[in-house]
Symmetry: none
Subunit: 198 residues, 2 copies
């Protein structure tokens, strides 16, 4: 039996969201080979997520936007509760605006919740070290770090971004406004953005 490293288990959980036992058993199955265990847990996690997704909102719209004659492309899925709302002009306009936003601003995530905890920890560490290196007093470092973290979220997370066509609104505001108009929950489920040769 290979001795399983607790650091490996922790890392696997961060990367896949697997339980402690599941991560440990998979590592043991592959004699401590981290990359193999990671690939298997990811595949399992993907299947579990697919099952859960069936229970939530199933209606909505998949929209694409291609720019520059095929040099840039965006695809986004936005869910609502009924076919009826999916066909409304207000909903379609929202989805189109979100596609344009993604093309223009290159977000990495839908929401802050989609950032892996390890990534946030890494950012915090980086911002803290930078603040200390600049000689900031310890009692205001936390405040500085939180400010930089918020700025990072505003750039990386679609829902936190200011809307390109009206920077007084965030995309979250835009969605909430549409929810109020159509009377149904609306969720940006996922998006992807390709740049040619990038």
């Amino acid at each position: 039996m290979t001795a399983i490293n607790t650091e490996q288990i922790k890392k696997l959980r961060e990367l896949t969201g697997a339980g402690v036992l599941d991560a440990k058993r998979t590592l043991e199955e592959f004699n401590g080979d981290f990359d193999k265990a990671l690939a298997i847990l990811k595949e399992k996690g993907m299947k579990a997520a697919e099952k859960k997704a069936e229970r939530v909102a199933k209606q909505g719209l998949i929209e694409t936007y291609v720019h520059g004659g095929g040099k840039l492309g965006v695809m986004v899925e936005v869910n609502c509760e009924t076919d009826f709302v999916a066909a409304l002009a207000e909903f379609r306009e929202l989805v189109h605006n979100i596609a344009l936003q993604i093309a223009a601003t290159k977000p990495e995530y839908v929401s802050v919740e989609d950032i892996a905890p390890a990534v946030i920890e890494e950012k915090k560490k980086m911002f803290t070290e930078a603040a200390l290196a600049e000689g900031k007093p310890a009692h205001i470092v936390e405040k500085i770090v939180n400010g930089k973290l918020e700025a990072y979220y505003k750039e990386a997370c679609l829902l936190r971004q200011p809307f390109i066509r009206d920077d007084q609104q965030t995309i979250q505001d835009l969605i909430q406004a549409t929810i109020a108009k159509v009377g149904e929950n609306i969720v940006v489920k996922r998006f992807v953005r390709y740049e040619l040769g990038a």
Copy 2:
């Protein structure tokens, strides 16, 4: 001398991208046996494509295809070497056909090389256990496992799939025929496929 059917020449050219003379001579060489001529021309095309495969392909096209009024979406990036080829009808038709293929057949990977080794090992293990459980003799288990693995690749990998509009060709064949026509390396870089609520 066998009379060579112009329909056969046309079909061979479509399937392999070979020139008229090349298609005609190969058919004559095999006394009009279409399948043999096809196999030889495919092999020739493969070798020519391999030579081009090392060339950098950074131009091309990002194409999207949306079906069912927003219920299914596909985005694909296909690279070629120059802007000039990216604008050719032959290249654009290829990219469009690939997008339709992905929409229809739901591949998981571009090529076999994109499957994580751990996933292939897991499949092998599963197929082996199934064959042994069925009481297959040990000396043919490997053969059965390889057969099942090939079947899995044909389903999961875009390049191995039979083309939906002509199942005599794989997508790889279709790409090679286009490479022969346009004279540049062509690579499917990445794709993504969304199904509403899935």
